[in-house]
């Protein structure tokens, strides 16, 4: 007659085996999914920074930080190839955190770039108006000067004519 412990062990071993098989099959997929997630996150972060540039702004600091995060992902790939899964995961976590920080700062950068873009537009328009006004004033002065010169020349000619008549 089998002992209760023996019966328990016989009943639990198929379940345990099933769980081990399930774990072995799931972990590589989890790695693949994590890689896809981090790639998608990098695309999303890039698209948000790109929107700032498309609106006429700049965000050089955010671009540099995104590139640092991409370098971390690359280094993680190297570590994984060397068999150091823990270091690879750590690097990927750092990259993920860096990209999340960049995403959080995008709205502020967007507002700043919109402000800078507006200021640039205003300064260009004001410069154009200023140049027009100054040029027109200079033209008026030059025109008046020319007319005065013409009149003084005419006056000189009249004096010479009068002297000749006399």
């Amino acid at each position: 007659m089998s002992s209760p412990l023996h019966i328990f062990a016989r009943s639990i071993s198929p379940a345990l085996l099933f769980m081990i098989v399930l774990l072995v099959l799931t972990v590589p997929q989890a790695n693949t999914q994590a890689s896809e997630d981090i790639a998608t996150l990098s695309y999303q972060t890039f698209n948000r920074i790109s929107a700032i540039y498309q609106a006429g702004g700049e965000a050089r600091d955010l671009v540099d930080r995104l590139n640092s995060a991409l370098q971390l992902i690359q280094d993680a790939h190297v570590k994984r190839s060397q068999g150091d899964e823990a270091a690879a995961k750590n690097l990927e976590d750092q990259a993920r955190q860096a990209m999340n920080e960049v995403n959080n700062e995008v709205p502020t950068a967007q507002q700043r770039s919109e402000r800078e873009s507006r200021n640039k537009t205003y300064s260009v328009l004001i410069s154009a108006i200023f140049v027009t006004v100054i040029s027109t004033f200079a033209f008026c002065v030059a025109l008046r000067g020319w007319r005065w010169y013409e009149k003084s020349k005419l006056f000189e000619m009249r004096i010479v004519e009068k002297k000749a008549k006399d």
């Binding site: 990098s42 890039f46 033209f139």
Partner: protein, 213 residues
């Protein structure tokens, strides 16, 4: 009594014409400053030799490489698309029989990449990537040489990487992929003037049948 500034009708015409001309010129300049016309958009991809020149691609200029012989190249990418771009350089190892990328139809090589270099490039920015590699292991199979170990920038690769008859005509293929914002995925081709374009470059080499350098 204040003197009134008299302007003759002739001068008034000159003044009006001048104001119109200056307004047109300054408006045009302002418009050009705020909305510059787009220039030709393109990417450039290249591979240079060990001293970042178009020479010295192989040690002693000999493309017949031995195992453990180090090769140093520099990969370059230039962004002239007028915008921020997410670029990926995919490195593939092929033999002469495997399909090359086809830039006419925008299709990449079907081979899997060994490695990818990813970077966000500003407009007018150039990316230079040191590419140091060496064959670490080969297996001789009758008439063919199978590369089974490769080191790329500290990345160690193993397995049946690529096989070539008599160890001749292997090639590294470098493909330029760009993030397509609409598809939200990488694309081997991009839209430019005159249609879609792709960029890829390959460098050939041979492997000698001796086992070690």
């Amino acid at each position: 009594m204040r003197r009134r500034l008299k302007i003759s009708s002739k001068d008034r015409r000159y003044l009006i014409a001048f104001v119109i001309a200056v307004t047109l010129i300054t408006s045009g300049s302002a418009l050009y400053t705020l909305n510059p016309p787009p220039s030709e958009q393109f990417f450039a991809l290249w591979v240079l030799g060990s001293h970042a020149k178009t020479e010295d691609y192989y040690p002693d200029n000999n493309p017949n490489l031995k195992v453990a012989e180090e090769v140093n190249w520099t990969i370059g990418v230039y962004n002239h698309m007028g915008s921020l771009e997410y670029v990926v350089v995919r490195v593939k190892l092929l033999n002469s029989t495997q399909p090359s990328p086809n830039q006419l139809v925008g299709s990449p090589s079907p081979a899997s990449p060994l490695f990818e270099f990813t970077r966000v490039l500003l407009d007018n920015e150039t990316l230079t990537i040191p590419f140091e590699w060496k064959i670490t292991n080969v297996t001789l199979e009758r008439q063919s040489v199978l590369i089974t170990g490769l080191s790329l920038n500290q990345l160690q690769l193993g397995g049946e990487l690529v096989k070539a008859l008599s160890g001749r005509n292997y090639r590294f293929v470098f493909e330029l992929w760009v993030l397509d914002a609409r598809a939200n995925d990488l694309s081997f081709s991009w839209s430019g003037m005159g249609g879609r374009h792709s960029a890829w470059v390959q460098i050939w080499f041979n492997v000698t049948r001796t086992i070690s350098a």
